[in-house]
Symmetry: C2
Subunit: 431 residues, 2 copies
């Protein structure tokens, strides 16, 4: 639908890594679903546009979540004192197996989709389970939310419990059928994304099949990379031919580039906590998006990714909630944990490394991560109108605060959880 | 008031460092404000007690906050990307100076006290400012909340902006007058606590005066200790006679023990991130309470206190929100950040160090910190009836979860912020 409208309020958005633009009591004009401009006085040519009046409320771009596991939503916030591989065994695999049952998938994914709709997130890249039907159910539900999302049916043909493992052939066939069926459903906002769970879960044969699938169906790709020291050691054993973890994906064109014709494939790699210099260079050259998931990296004791360094090097980076390694879908919380953990990197790993600023945290959550989806995550002219409105009344005390201070408070107090009062995705009002 | 009553619900409490007791749909009996026992079936002798029915809700002990700065509440969640000493200069001192004005103090402390009342905290030790009147206003307001609290007028006779500094004589006189006036007000639940801000802010002369004040008026003591590397370096310069930071307090009987007669003084030292072996031994010998403030230690880039080690050594420890170094008064959030940061200690400082378990985090927040106030922070027989009730309905999904899993979720989702539906302090219902 082509929407023209105006949103009035206290407006803020990133225009670069170091700059958050703020406009007190101003007008954001949206023309054909695209940001036209922000004005302190509404120009007369837009007087006929529908006006949404959120005076005194914070108006900001929607959050971008580059990494979340939908089937893990039910047990988020549990087992948070375990380490990655223990936690997968104790919680994850058992729960994911239940999505073989379509009814279970519908019930649980409904809870997930409802919550995503109410969150401040407007665009998201999602891991499902290895089940084709459940993944289609999830796509149906996400389409209904109005969010723009990528959804991945997982590939898992090794090294997981028998009850969850696919054969390589089965995984290939199901993946192709899933892509075809999802295309038949003519979603407007929901796309399939090829999703090998991580190297331990997929054989070389599977990676080879996925290489062809990505080429044939022109899909994006997402997976996990260099998350945890014990995982990385294990990947070394599994792929003796690879120079480093990311190289194992890259040999099968699954790290952002089809080597045969040198074209790029939109790709997200979650974590990259321990990427070495070669891996970092490859991520940059192939324009891969790093999904930085700080809550998860703290919770499952993975470590701290040197995000400031990645920003300096010009890598593509966004934030990921990584539910249920992360305890919540709140991207505000990821901003906070990104800043907090960057300070421990400074303190314990590299005293020349400066912690992330608030401006950088907000940039990662919006404009920077948004690049994966196109022009979104900002209100600069020409950007998609993804807008959320937060009511921070009651959190400002007797003081008058600047918009930037109010924004920082809103983020640190997690007001995305209960204080979101309006939400637009690509110019469509969904809340 | 002598209160006899019964609270029904899903009950949980720490009985030791490693054990959270849980009772589904059970009865907590309170007799004369003291916990009598928890029963699955209500014994007939208590049938006449008032019954508060919180079926399906989580019933747990109140949280203990061993360290919070009331005047910093207004700017909590701001400047969170600075380091300690910068942050003090940029935000703290300017704001604290305003409490010279009684009207300002009344307005802002009212906001603070109201929020503390609504929080899950039942007992708290508070830093005010250096102003006597403002500190008494804060005590009046805290008394009205029904919480049990210690409140400290700060001593600051050096190394802070002129507009905030007291002379040593003024600081001494004002401290004595403040203690006397607070005693005249006959508070039931509110006590003065001697509060040298930290070594940089107090001269040796001042410490000597405080030594006498503590002896003469039999007060408790609170301060900061070994928080941040640059602070510690600075303290070394200021106190060349001291063997280590804590020794500077100890020489003036301000670290838990009156050396002349070997009696103990109830004492809280916030942070202790970098305490050396000698300092740790002294903290233990003198039974000082370490207020572990993990959010603050992350926010102002201080570091990670080795709390698991302190627990192993048998130190007294509780949690502190340390608003506004910490962004919120939520002690649930401190549990989460304590666990998260302990994992980074494991990852980056000592691979033999295990991260804190959830049981340990909850224990720190309740039973362990509660020891500072006497027998509280648990529902074991004989403990003070400090009770909070959290409605976690809507956070459990279609699944049935155990009480322990629900408790972990409630803590990780910060449900103390908006889902507290009842609160008792020493058997008195205040919400």
């Amino acid at each position: 639908m082509e929407n023209n409208f105006v949103v009035k309020g206290d407006i803020c958005y990133s225009s670069s890594r170091n700059t958050i633009e703020t406009f007190k009591d101003s007008y954001l004009v949206v023309k054909n679903n695209i940001c036209e401009g922000v004005y302190e006085v509404l120009p007369s040519e837009f007087k006929d546009f529908t006006l949404y009046d959120y005076t005194n409320k914070l108006v900001m771009p929607g959050m971008i979540d580059l990494h979340i596991h939908a089937p893990q939503y039910s047990y988020r916030g549990n087992g948070m004192d375990l380490e990655l591989l223990d936690w997968l065994d104790r919680y994850t695999f058992k729960e994911e197996a239940k999505y073989k049952d379509d009814k279970y998938a519908l019930d649980y994914y409904t809870v997930f989709a409802n919550r995503m709709k109410k969150s401040a997130t407007t665009r998201v890249s999602i891991f499902g389970t290895r089940h084709k039907n459940a993944s289609l159910i999830l796509m149906d539900l996400m389409e209904k939310t109005g969010l723009i999302s990528y959804v991945g049916k997982l590939n898992m043909d090794r090294d997981c419990p028998d009850y969850l493992r696919e054969t390589t052939l089965e995984s290939k066939t199901e993946t192709i059928n899933w892509i075809l069926e999802s295309k038949n459903r003519n979603y407007k906002n929901t796309k399939p994304i090829v999703t090998p769970r991580f190297i331990p879960s997929v054989t070389d044969e599977m990676l080879f099949e996925l290489k062809n699938i990505v080429k044939d169906y022109k899909t994006a790709v997402q997976s996990h990379l260099s998350e945890n020291p014990s995982e990385i050691e294990y990947v070394k054993e599994l792929t003796p031919y690879a120079k480093f973890y990311g190289d194992a994906y890259d040999r099968f064109n699954l790290l952002g580039r089809v080597h045969e014709d040198n074209t790029l494939v939109p790709t997200i790699m979650a974590h990259c906590v321990y990427s070495n210099e070669e891996e970092i260079k490859l991520l940059k050259d192939n324009q891969v998006f790093v999904a930085h998931c700080p809550s998860s990296n703290l919770n499952v004791a993975s470590g701290i990714a040197p995000i400031k360094k990645y920003l300096d090097l010009g890598l593509n980076i966004g934030l990921g909630s990584d539910v249920a390694g992360g305890e919540t879908e709140s991207i505000f919380k990821q901003i906070v944990d990104a800043i907090k953990s960057s300070k421990m990197y400074y303190r314990y790993v590299d005293s020349n490394y400066k912690g992330l600023t608030f401006e950088e945290g907000f940039y990662l959550a919006t404009l920077s991560g948004g690049k994966f989806f196109g022009k979104c995550g900002s209100f600069m002219k020409g950007y998609d109108a993804d807008i959320v409105v937060i009511d921070d009344n009651g959190y400002t005390n007797p003081n008058e605060f600047s918009i930037i201070n109010r924004l920082e408070k809103a983020v640190y107090f997690n007001l995305d959880e209960n204080h979101l009062i309006a939400k637009f995705v690509h110019g469509n009002k969904i809340i």
